[in-house]
């Protein structure tokens, strides 16, 4: 098998050791030698070394000092320390601070050194392979994310045109001109738009690092209520907000979280209930915001409580997307929030959320 040659750098102030090393290993490895740390560094700067062997006891710079000095600049080559005497302190230092892979005593046995170099090279390769794999995966993941983002936007543009046309049909008084067909088109379009919006929310939640922005719950909640109660004016909202201090966290994610929960509370009302209500209580202090959203809606089966935060979980009777609460959970995870849910089919559902107050920076 034609394996790539292993590049070994050996640093030792004693010339005859370098010669002996070359004599023993020049057939197996591509060998570079240096008589001082400074000379070794020069080689390191010009050649991709895989394994570095350094003698501990050298004038000016010791082996461990050398390894320490290149820890950040050349982290990849695997290090082997050679020493003539057993100095526990140097050894501890080497392992703790110099990132040393092996420790070999002088005079070395050719077999031991050979095996060590071989193992060191395997470790080197594993490290490089892993890094390549990680960056490859990061790239693929990034592309996938960007793909979701662009395709969602591309899908939404013509859909929004369709919704615009339906609006025109309404304006021109033609909405009821073809039985219920226009209404059905509108329902389907809105549903599709909902899915696309959820996809975009998911993408943004996945991609962005948490931001630090001020949140005014009073304003946010009233905006969200007017946004989501647009199509349903029956529900009574009882909002109690106690925010005596500033609250700082990721405004976008909090909007996503509250938006989804408020939307759900409106959507899953009992159609027979004459007094539909949604209670929103928010209490903010310097440590956290505690948000309770409860409704007297249809409730959630006990069996389902465990699963409602799973991606694409849908209950049989209700046409959800299986995305809303999943996104809520994901967004909360990103901003170190917590969520609890209790529900009773007779009474309704209560979500309790706690989000840490990030304070102003």
């Amino acid at each position: 098998m034609d394996t790539p040659s292993v590049k070994v750098l050996y640093i030792d102030d004693e010339e005859h050791n370098l010669q002996a090393f070359k004599a023993s290993f020049r057939r197996q490895y591509e060998i570079y030698t240096a008589t001082s740390a400074a000379a070794g560094l020069l080689i390191l700067q010009n050649i991709d070394i895989n394994v570095i062997i350094a003698d501990q006891k050298m004038p000016e710079t010791t082996g461990v000092q050398f390894f320490k000095s290149i820890k950040d600049t050349y982290p990849d080559p695997v290090r082997i320390l050679l020493t003539g005497y057993t100095d526990i302190e140097a050894l501890a230092d080497a392992i703790n601070h110099g990132d040393v892979y092996r420790y070999i005593t002088k005079p070395w046995s050719d077999l031991e050194l050979h095996n060590s170099i071989k193992n060191a090279y395997d470790a080197y390769k594993a490290k490089i392979d892993l890094r390549n794999k990680v960056s490859e995966l990061e790239k693929t993941n990034d592309e996938l994310n960007r793909f979701i983002y662009s395709i969602s936007h591309e899908l939404r543009a013509p859909l929004v045109s369709v919704i615009g046309i339906v609006n025109l049909v309404k304006m021109e008084g033609l909405y009821n001109s073809s039985g219920e067909y226009w209404n059905l088109i509108e329902i389907c379009s809105n549903k599709l738009d909902f899915y696309i919006q959820k996809t975009l929310q998911y993408y943004k939640n996945n991609k962005n690092v948490a931001e630090h922005s001020p949140v005014e719950f009073e304003i946010l909640v009233s905006e969200l209520i007017s946004l989501y109660s647009y199509s349903d004016r029956d529900t009574q909202f009882n909002v109690k907000i106690n925010q005596p201090v500033g609250f700082y966290n990721d405004a976008f994610r909090i909007e996503v979280i509250l938006g989804n929960l408020i939307n759900n509370a409106i959507k899953y009302q009992k159609s027979t209930e004459p007094n539909k209500f949604v209670n929103i209580d928010i209490d903010v202090d310097g440590q956290r915001a505690e948000i309770t959203i409860s409704d007297n809606g249809i409730g959630i089966l006990n069996d389902h409580l465990e699963k409602i935060f799973n991606q694409f979980f849908k209950s049989k009777n209700h046409h959800g997307s299986g995305l809303g609460l999943f996104i809520v959970k994901e967004a909360l995870t990103r901003i170190n929030g917590k969520i609890e849910v209790t529900s009773d089919l007779a009474i309704g559902t209560t979500f309790k959320i706690t989000i840490p107050n990030g304070k102003a920076t």
Binding site: A157, P158, V160, G164, N167, M171
Partner: protein
Amino acid sequence: MVRHLKLQSRMVKPLNSSRIVMLIDDNDIDLKINGKIVAFTKSFEDIVVCRSGEEALNYLKQHLTTPERLPEFILLDIQMPEMSGFEFLDHYKKLPVSFTEGCNIAMLSSTLDFSDIQRAEANPYVVKLLKKPLIPAVLQEVVKEHLQR
């Protein structure tokens, strides 16, 4: 190619010279929809329709000497090939102040992207970012707020 859509004559003509709105969008269907919505608001008497930022800039430059044919309001799409809405604004700001100070721009987009919204509304020439689909009531409100005279 610049098209003019003459609106129905039953519209009430304001006392001053006729009001013109310019629509810039690469999408024919959206131009049609938004043209209808603009007509519905009865705020303008003439619509200048441009399929690209370049076309719009050409029109504006050609009519600098005939201000009665310049728009008072522009609905500008963001996502367009070659020259995006934002790039259009970069060129737009080089037009004479005598024109730009009398003209308001609303950007129009199906975007849900926060950064787009912030970027649009931070631009001094843009009064608002309107989301597609354009709702007549929303347009009417913006027009009322920014075109009083």
